[in-house]
């Protein structure tokens, strides 16, 4: 199957998301669609998937023009898409989720039904490690992604679009995905791999199409380009991020004390967490996703009730088992999954930006003044599109992250809790986030920074603690940090050996 996009134009309000894009996708090839956040990659592929209608341009399949008026049409043409936000029913098993999405699903869904087992064929082929009877809520993010992919393959998709698939994965999970993508291509599927990570391109792409500001800049064979060239094509010539500076903390006196904290939410536990941070210190929390990171962040920031222990900042008890205050003005908090946890998605950006100083807003607010203030923040933190009145839910993942960071870190804080603050961001935007984050540390804030990026943690954090099964299993100074040793702690291997 040969898919061709011709002269695609798409505008959202005053913003050109796509302008005059011409792109061909061949059978059995892996095409990486590379670009910064907001370059228009997802929009272009959502047009191909029938999710958006283009303002101009046409789509040809094997030379025949096709009107993609809905994802249903796209699927019937053999085009499937796996989104960043999964659409799995968490309370159902893998098998049930696959049956739900399967067009020839039998009416009576008995376990032993022959057709019911047919949906598992591709699961066995591409993800043999996943137990079909496991509940989706028990799967890791990477496994859920594989189930989504199998769902798409089950409707006979010959072209599979993956929207930033590695942005939610740990490094080993990403490696598994790259292998899976190569396997798909060998089986004759075409794959479009939307990404802003160069390593994705290097690892599994045949060709790379680079987008910048809505336009297609270049299409090349992936092995013809080195990383430096890719960055220049992606960011434009001469774009360099400013150096990220991290100072050593001025004193060694503990300012933040997390004392014997335990908390429980759903099936997640954290137990007996003890941390001490000096003013200006950056403590990185490493760990494989699903070991209690989000709960730890919520507990320290005051969004999850503690079952035991205390969080003490500068001698004052912030939270304890008896009481907890969500959002003390001294805390800046960037939670995991900002769409769900940090913003009201159907309200405008300027509303979401004022949430942290809500009590300072007049009872009858002067909205024009608030919008002006919001525009300044949006400009300073480079949120795109730079529209104060746009619903926050319409922002891309990376830009939403910037919006939350603008709200939380635009004022000096005494404690900053950041849970995956650079998730979904390209190198450039991630560097900007680190600057804002570490500037808070330089100004004397304690920074609790949860990340899956071990390289970044080792580069910038003063100390690294590893969270495994809800407990801090080891804390090391960044000078003594070793990738492999930390990796063994993260997977529990070191604890088993000790």
């Amino acid at each position: 199957m040969l898919v061709a996009l011709k002269g695609i134009h798409k505008r959202f309000g005053s913003v050109h998301a796509n302008r005059d894009v011409h792109l061909q996708i061949g059978a059995g090839e892996v095409l990486a669609l590379l670009g910064e956040n907001g370059a228009g990659k997802s929009t272009l592929m959502k047009i191909l998937y029938g999710f958006y209608a283009p303002d101009a341009g046409e789509i040809l399949i094997d030379g025949v023009p096709v009107r993609m008026d809905s994802p249903r049409t796209a699927m019937s043409r053999g085009i499937g898409m796996v989104f960043q936000h999964f659409s799995l029913v968490r309370e159902l098993s893998v098998r049930e989720n696959l049956l739900l999405a399967y067009p020839h699903s039998p009416w009576w869904q008995g376990r032993a039904h022959a057709r019911a087992n047919r949906v598992l064929r591709r699961l066995r082929e591409f993800a043999p490690d996943i137990d079909p009877d496991a509940l989706v809520s028990q799967l890791s993010v990477g496994e859920q992604q594989q189930v989504e992919l199998v769902k798409v393959l089950n409707v006979d998709a010959r072209l599979v679009i993956l929207d930033e698939p590695t942005s939610v994965l740990t490094p080993p999970e990403a490696e598994r995905l790259w292998a899976l993508v190569r396997k798909l291509a060998e089986a004759g599927h075409s794959v479009v791999f939307i990404t802003h990570k160069l390593e994705d391109v290097m690892a599994c792409a045949d060709r790379v199409a680079i987008m910048r500001a809505g336009a297609l800049v270049d299409v090349r064979d992936a092995n013809r380009l080195n990383e430096q060239q890719l960055v220049e094509l992606m960011m434009g010539a001469g774009a360099h991020s400013a150096a990220i500076e991290v100072d050593a903390p001025a004193s060694a006196v503990a300012r933040l004390l997390v004392a014997a904290v335990s908390a429980t939410r759903d099936v997640m536990h954290i137990e007996d967490i003890n941390l001490e941070l000096a003013a200006g210190e950056i403590l990185g929390i490493a760990g494989v996703a699903g070991n209690g990171q989000a709960l730890l962040a919520d507990a320290v920031a005051g969004f999850a009730p503690l079952t035991a222990g205390e969080v003490i900042l500068a001698g004052n008890v912030l939270h304890s088992a008896e009481r907890s205050i969500a959002h003390d003005p001294r805390i800046g908090y960037i939670p995991e999954n900002p769409l769900r946890n940090a913003v009201a998605a159907d309200l405008s950006n300027y509303i979401n930006l004022l949430l942290r100083r809500y009590s300072e807003v007049a009872f009858f607010p002067r909205w024009e003044r608030e919008k002006t203030a919001a525009r300044a923040l949006i400009k300073r933190f480079d949120v795109r599109p730079p529209l104060a009145e746009l619903s926050s839910g319409a922002l891309s993942g990376g830009n939403l992250q910037k919006l939350v960071i603008a709200r939380e870190l635009s004022r000096p804080r005494e404690l900053v809790v950041a849970c995956y603050p650079t998730m979904g961001l390209d190198v450039h935007a991630a560097a900007a986030v680190y600057q804002h984050l570490f500037a808070q540390a330089r100004a004397g804030a304690c920074v609790l920074w949860i990340s899956e990026d071990l390289d970044d943690l080792m580069r910038y954090a003063h100390r690294i603690a590893v969270l495994y099964h809800g407990r801090i299993v080891v804390t090391v100074d960044h000078r003594d940090a070793d990738r492999h040793v930390l990796g063994r702690w993260m997977t529990g291997a070191a604890a088993a050996a000790a």
Partner: protein
């Protein structure tokens, strides 16, 4: 936060009106020989003269108040069907104050009656609010159930302890003294009761508060994402209880006005489905407090024209309920159709 386009704002009510008239005419044609004449009689019966208009206003007032009491909680995502029960319970507690102060002067009796009615309504609203906030109990179901409780409580007192012995078999309290009657005045032959103006003022005040104040934004935030609201320090429980209590006060006020001004006593049928009409009006108005006022007047007129239909076309009283249904069906169908054609 997209506002409907100007075109949409005017075409929907207009087209819905046309559709309603057409469907109503078809309904009359099935039941009477001269549908246009029946329709004319209906309009005449609702708004034709000062007397008809007075009756329509009397019917519109509790609908308006009940609609407000539904629309306010909806702003923070709470769906209440409890206006009917709050109306009854407000009438009950208000009547209790009247019976206790039967011979007191107006300046003592009126505030006591109003205070008791508002407190009763507030209580009947706050309970489902509190259950929702503390125990995550569905407020829609609790309000429905509390409706039955309140209606039966009124039955109990008027058949039992509060029954006027002089009434023989008829269940009702003694007549309220003149001091318990709210003021009314007459303009060009139309009697306007003060409670109608109070209800309009309440609608305007709520509109101003909800659309312009930080409190209105708090409610929107709570509806959108409770966690984001907690970032702003907006407390869900406190707002849920407060909003439901205010809603109860509005309906409770409607209840005591029915007893004091319309019936002159507490009796079992002080409401002819005003709570439900109010619910429908609130949702038709898209929870917009100002749009609720004309829609309530329309509903009040429709209810008031029942007598005209009975006299003129020998249509049973229930036909007004059919017409209400047709009106709502028309508006909802057109709204849905427009939304679909837009998408």
């Amino acid at each position: 936060m997209t506002e409907p386009s100007v075109l949409r704002r005017y075409t929907v009510p207009l087209a819905a009106g046309v559709l309603f008239v057409a469907v109503a005419l078809a309904f009359f044609a099935l039941n009477a020989p001269a549908p246009f004449a029946v329709f004319g009689a209906m309009v005449q019966g609702a708004y034709g003269d000062g007397f008809a208009l007075s009756i329509s206003l009397v019917k519109a007032t509790p609908i308006l108040l009940c609609a407000l009491s539904v629309a306010l909680p909806a702003r923070m995502g709470l769906i209440t069907v409890g206006a009917e029960g709050q109306l009854y319970f407000g009438a009950l507690t208000g009547t209790g104050a009247v019976l206790g102060l039967l011979h007191a002067p107006a300046w003592e009796l009126l505030p006591a009656m109003l205070g008791a009615a508002l407190a009763g309504g507030a209580l009947w609203g706050a309970v489902p609010g509190l259950l929702r906030a503390r125990l995550s109990v569905n407020e829609t179901i609790v309000t429905i159930l509390l409706n039955y409780v309140a209606i039966r409580l009124v039955d109990f007192v008027v058949y039992g302890p509060w029954k006027n012995a002089a009434n023989l078999g008829w269940p009702a309290t003694v007549s309220f003294p003149a001091a318990a009657v709210f003021p009314a005045f007459t303009v060009h032959g139309t009697t306007v009761h003060a409670e109608f103006l109070v209800a309009c003022a309440a609608a305007a005040a709520l509109h101003g508060l909800v659309s312009r104040s930080r409190w209105g934004l708090s409610l929107t935030l709570l509806r959108s994402n409770r966690r984001a609201a907690s970032i702003a320090g907006v407390n869900y429980a406190r707002n849920a209880v407060a909003v439901m209590a205010i809603a109860g006060m509005l309906a409770g006020f409607a209840g005591i006005m029915q007893a004091a001004d319309v019936q002159g006593r507490l009796q079992p049928d002080i409401s002819v489905g005003y709570g439900l009409s109010g619910f429908l009006v609130a949702w038709l108005a898209g929870q917009n407090f100002l749009r609720i006022i004309p829609l309530s007047l329309l509903m009040g007129g429709l209810t008031a024209s029942a007598d005209a239909l009975q006299l003129f076309a020998q249509l049973p009283f229930a036909s007004t309920v059919v017409l209400q249904g047709l009106l709502f069906g028309s508006v909802l169908a057109l709204n849905g159709w427009l939304r679909r054609s837009k998408a």
